[in-house]
Point group: C2
Chain length 232, copies 2
DNA sequence: CTTACAACTTTTGTCGACACAAAAAATACA
DNA sequence: TGTATTTTTTGTGTCGACAAAAGTTGTAAG
């Protein structure tokens, strides 16, 4: 567990940010499972600061929907909404398509290098059969594509969806096999080629197929393991 | 100016929310022009509360991008980004299309009545030639369509774009003529009909044409009046 | 007259304390 | 023994105060 040094006087204004980043990471990694109540006082003690910056971090997380504030009571880690997963699949498919299209049409000199760097990291994670690293590097790959599209609205929604997907995948990461991920590597390569060729139609088609692949795999993992989302 | 009653003891937990709502309204109405610094102490005095709930409201607004926090200095009303307006037009066109499609395919019994109620309000605003009311009721009309689609990701982005558009339109509301708005009323009626008929393709086409209309009008208004966005 | 430095002012970031609300525990009663 | 009511506990929402950082003013030297 990351414990900030006691004596280290942190810079003014960095308190809320560091709590925000750390909590965000732990929520997306499922270190904090959904529904877990978050105690402001405990956090304040853990990070060696007062409740004020902790509260600011929680307000920001609530704005992103990662935590839910129950008035006068607790704030808890927002539960994954299994009942509306189809809206998530629908949205991430659209965002994969839109951002990849824009990357193909609008990317600028340095962009491809950044995307390729992420792809190298993803390929390495697949080779190492490191499911956690796959999830993280896959997110960065698509984030780089979204950044190359230079539409902040799309980019923001895409990042949010990628993070939510990261959380979802973590729930099932143990059941990853290594066959599909290798297909993902090839699909990524094709997408890069389409972006470089500025072939918007091809980029769109590849992004859609790629999204269908991932959605299909998540669906398979969920149907394989129903016990998680039966209400008690 | 809305002055909360001094003696009225507000409910615990309502402080930050009311400040948030009021500031949000004033920013979108351009009562607070872009770049205006927001003073926490002034706000605290104006709302008769301490700085803590005011700060919470500002953090939430910063999360939505409506204000920008300059570390250790002031927080200011976020400036409208005229350089990237095309990304706004692109995104709102897509969101009009996606939400109208979803409303056509997935709307449920009560949804159409809600949409029609908003359309009645919009038509009345057009009849009254009340540009400010047009802007507000148009937003509610499309928000109702987005709600009928029942995809929170799309709905959230659509609302954000509608709010940003509301701000943009306010900048130019004086140059509204009454010809185009009446076309909007007819276009809205057609969209409602397509949604009711569950004709997804038609809903998509109408939404796209409607978005093009609005984008075209905004572009016209901007080109008519260049002086606003020349850097000084 | 301009510029560099110092004291002052303003406003934010953080803190500890207190009040209030809701859940949990304890008690009374049937 | 089970249920209703009171008490206690826990933890949030709000407050006033203090300290650090950036801007501002004033002063003096070049």
């Amino acid at each position: 567990m990351a414990m900030p040094d006691k004596g280290a006087e942190r810079k003014r204004g960095s308190g809320a940010i560091s709590v925000y980043n750390e909590l965000r990471r732990e929520i997306l990694d499922l270190t904090l499972e959904q529904g877990r109540p978050i105690d402001e006082i405990q956090l304040a003690e853990r990070f060696r600061m007062s409740r004020t910056p902790v509260r600011e971090a929680l307000v920001r997380l609530a704005g992103e929907g990662l935590v839910t504030t129950l008035p006068n009571r607790a704030t808890v880690v927002t539960a994954i909404d299994f009942l509306n997963l189809h809206t998530f699949f629908d949205a991430i498919t659209l965002m994969y398509r839109v951002t990849t299209r824009l990357a193909a049409s609008d990317h600028r000199p340095g962009d491809l290098a950044l995307i390729r760097a992420r792809q190298v990291e993803f390929a390495r994670a697949v080779e190492d059969q490191d499911a956690l690293a796959m999830i993280a590097t896959n997110r960065e790959f698509h984030a780089a594509i979204a950044a190359a599209g230079r539409n902040h609205y799309y980019e923001a929604l895409c990042l949010r969806l990628l993070d939510e997907g990261r959380r979802l995948l973590r729930l099932y990461y143990s059941s990853f096999d290594d066959r599909l991920p290798h297909e993902y590597v090839l699909e990524h390569e094709d997408m890069i080629a389409a972006i470089e060729a500025r072939d918007v139609a091809e980029a769109d088609a590849l992004a859609r197929a790629h999204a269908d692949q991932i959605v299909g795999q998540i669906r398979t993992m969920i149907s394989r393991d129903q016990r998680h989302h039966i209400a008690l």
